[in-house]
Amino acid sequence: MFIRIISLIVLFLSYAPNHVFGHGAVQRASELKDSEIRLFVADNMNGSVVVVDFPDGEVTHRVSTSPSIMILASNKDNKYIYAMRGRDTDDDLTSILSTGFDLEEQQFRKPHVIRTIKTDTPGGPRDSKMATVGGYDAILTEGEAEVVVIMSDDIDGYGELKTKRYKIAAPDHYHYLEGETYLYIGHLFNGFVQVLDRSTGKEVKRINGCPMLHGMTEDKESGRLIFSCARDVIVVGTLGEEKAELISRIPYPENTGRGCAAFLKGEGRVQWCYTEGIIPRLYRVDLSQEPYQFTTLSVESSIQQNSTDDGKYLMVLSKQGVLYLYHGRDGNLIKQIKVSEPFLGDWFEDVGKAILPDIESHKGIAYITLTHEGRIAEIDLEQGKVKRYIDIGGFPTRIVLLAKETLVQASN
């Protein structure tokens, strides 16, 4: 009996330590990554946001979001990325992701989805930045005709998301910018700019006579907003006596039936605008010279365009897969860089989901999503050559670029 008891005790003692130490201390591994650039790329094969860190060029994370991303945008202080769904669904969702930037450590961590919220046909961002109202992020719901302002600085956590809502004139496709005290909301199909008082939410006025309003920009120097209409663009003031007043109209250089679809900031106060669809033409306007007038720049049939962050270069990606670099002020051709195989067939992007490639740049390096090849090209613009390709797989489209130095500067 004694031997049996001793055997049991020995067996117990030899077995127990495994359990005792099973939840003991382990070495903590840091997830911090000291990257200079973090790219967020919408992959519309399955609706995920792919994160690529540079200078490594490593695909570090894939964050699953709702499929059919139409818009990818960062918020005002680059803490969050908003991924908004397109309309090829009956479930309109917006996913909000953390960028993963750790302010304390000034390095990047793993990004993740913080919230997914229901928004009826979401829109509002411009140039990959969220719309704002009084410094808060805002989503314009094109179905419900509302500006939904997210009144919380911190979206993380389980607390209720506080919102403030402004009623817009009518359901439509909007082009929005915030002025000094007013909100300016361009309506595409209704063809007017509605001006709302930010403090009361009441309509101040409507600026009519802008059919098929599509695309807008601002001239920071004068505070004027430019909305493109079917046959011309309208210039609307936002400051002083000009506030909410129609300043002038700029006719397009030729009556092509196609207006500006979006604007690109060039060097100085030059703005470039391109027409919707694959059209071999760009319009140029120098907002430092009044009366304003457009001139035309002939370009190869292009599938995507952008300007560099400093406005030095105008970048035009042709359907043949060649990146044309034009001078950001005068439009002179500087160089061309072969970046991909041609984009075969029609590439017509409707409101279902993003399908077009995107171009972003920082300090002379451009990043282009080659949707048809499932990869990103990293291009040295000064040297005029492709540095490397980063395989993403799927169908990479929209890009949001975050530069660490910008994040650090903003936090100081």
């Binding site: 595409l188 599509h214 041609p342 075969l344 017509f348």
Partner: protein
């Protein structure tokens, strides 16, 4: 029909025709992507040696549809007859499509893939088909 009704009627017709031919009106419409080409691309992506009965039914629906173009019907017919590769007769018909369409068009791309099919889909062709399916 009195004069004012006639004027109203003619005005409505003119307005309708005018709006219809404005390209910008369609700029934000939910465009009907090329559903038939996408359907055939979807079949080709996973095709091994020959189409299944289910795939043949889908192809027959393309042949029976009034909305299918002649070129789409030729391609559907060629896929239906694939036995490890397309028939010589179908290859000739596909060549006509290839010769008479823009080299970068989706119809041209699909015709080339069907024409050169051999037992299965190559990685390159699979990517092209996935792209057709993705963008329409």
């Amino acid at each position: 029909m009195n004069k004012s009704t006639k004027i109203l009627f003619l005005g409505m017709i003119t307005l309708f025709v005018g709006i219809f031919f404005q390209p910008n009106v369609f700029a934000h419409a939910d465009h009907d992507k090329d559903a038939i080409i996408i359907k055939m691309a979807d079949i080709m992506i996973n095709l091994e040696h020959f189409p299944t009965e289910d795939e043949k039914k889908k192809l027959q629906s393309v042949l029976d549809s009034d909305s299918s173009t002649d070129q789409e019907k030729i391609i559907a017919n060629a896929i239906m007859h694939i036995q490890h590769s397309s028939t010589v007769e179908d290859q000739d018909k596909l060549q006509l499509i290839i010769d008479n369409t823009v080299a970068t068009s989706t119809v041209n791309t699909l015709a080339k893939i069907v024409q050169s099919f051999s037992h299965g889909i190559s990685k390159t062709d699979k990517r092209k088909l996935q792209t057709i399916k993705f963008k329409g």
